[in-house]
Symmetry: C2
Subunit: 274 residues, 2 copies
């Protein structure tokens, strides 16, 4: 089970989201709760390795990792942040949530507010939504003319190239849920007094435009998955599968980066504190 | 065992750090590992309540909490962040570490860089070191003239008043370790290949000025513990005691704040998703 190769969008390939099963499982024999237990155990192993490597990334302080989370409402961006990235040392993680741009943000280019919060050396940055909203909601709702948003794919690729060539590794995850699963999760949110506040009528408008959003996601995946900053489409109807897959890919990336704890100053060796 | 009243510095009181035992325990009968187990269980309870209340603080999005951690090298600022605040949802926590100021920061007043990173509504901010360095290291090493640093206590009180009257609750913890305990921890850091890099020769200079630092801490505690933004001196030789005490005080504060999850829009009640 190689989550990276299973879910990475090969640069230049065509993407048909309807052909990707959102309720994919590991494919083990036996009942689902058995499979889930296996996936959770692997996730915990992945997180253990991630914690060790995060310490070294921080100690090394030369490179950084940026994790981008995109997906429809209820696709699990918050849950992924909590379950997969929550166990990391909070000192080395910075979560940025991108909401409706402010007036000041709108008075700059669309990457201005993003550039300000990219992870510093040693840090892991998490984007809950991102600059990709500028080719998703902005495209679907025509918030800027087509002549403007259609240029953004290249702007984004150039921007991410600057980051990757400056020491930031980028992993981008589209959390892929089915329309039926979204229905259940939205309904559960509505019916739970602790969660109902999260619900806005606008969420229903977005749901009505599901197919237009899928088109926008496909264009984004086709145009912006690069070798240095690949997109992954993560089947996300089953949260345990999603957590296994994302933790596997993050772990793999940190292992490839192989950060090194710096050596101690030679003059300190053998020193006895008084 | 009321950590708040045990360790809060009453505004206007005199502080003698040498009279506060850094190796304090809960004072239960029995061997230390039994006491430690009891403290860890209470800490976990505290963290469970903190997690629930953090969700509501975030949902309410009207107020924020700022936690300031100060202490000598090896006093446990990183450990507290990881053990007590690490289990919170990372989306609602922002840790800011204050290092040597940059040229741009030095070209502004000392609170400029601090103000930029105070927690937004709904957030919990953690300062690993803080604006108090400007009356600690700056005072001990005479980095600015006395005429300048001596004004800063009032500047800090006024700044914190602005924050507390704008919806931010502030809890300030001085992690109080003994000079002997620091010796052991510094030595352990030196002797561990994964931790030796953290050690700088400057740490030894700071250790040599221990008494001057204690004087500076006492002045800070006496002048800047206010009813709205109290200082706590936390005995920190025993990490389990420290974690119990700080989690108890943070839990108490969140309970007093009593954030409320907003009600759902009335028009959404009974809605069925299609």
């Amino acid at each position: 089970m190689d989550a990276y190769n299973l879910h990475c969008i090969k640069p230049g390939s065509k993407v048909k989201l309807r052909d990707i099963d959102p309720s994919k499982t590991l494919g083990l024999q036996g009942p689902e709760d058995q499979e889930r237990a296996a996936a959770d155990a692997l996730r915990d192993q992945n997180i253990g390795v991630m914690q060790q490597l995060q310490y070294r990334l921080w100690a090394e302080a030369k490179r950084s990792l940026l994790i981008v989370l995109q997906g429809m409402d209820c696709s699990g961006k918050d849950g992924t942040t909590r379950r997969v990235l929550g166990p990391l040392n909070p000192q080395g993680v910075r979560v940025s949530s991108f909401k409706k741009p402010t007036d000041e943000e709108l008075s700059h280019d669309f990457l201005w507010r993003v550039h300000k919060v990219v992870p510093a050396r040693g840090m892991i940055g998490v984007f809950n939504r991102s600059h990709y909203e500028d080719v998703l909601v902005v495209r679907v709702l025509n918030l800027v003319p087509k002549g403007e948003w259609s240029l953004r794919y290249d702007h984004i690729n150039d921007f991410e190239k600057l980051l990757t060539e400056s020491g930031t590794r980028i992993l981008k995850f589209m959390l892929h849920i089915s329309k039926d699963e979204q229905k259940e999760r939205l309904q559960a949110r509505l019916d739970d007094p602790e969660k109902g506040w999260k619900f806005a009528l606008g969420d229903l408008d977005t749901r009505k435009r599901w197919d237009e959003y899928m088109d926008a996601y496909e264009a984004m995946l086709e145009r912006c998955s690069t070798p240095e900053a690949p997109w992954f489409v993560i089947p996300a109807d089953k949260k345990w599968y999603r957590n296994w897959a994302i933790s596997s890919i993050v772990r793999r990336e940190l292992e490839l980066m192989d950060p090194k704890t710096p050596a101690m100053d030679a003059e300190l060796k053998g020193l006895k504190i008084e």
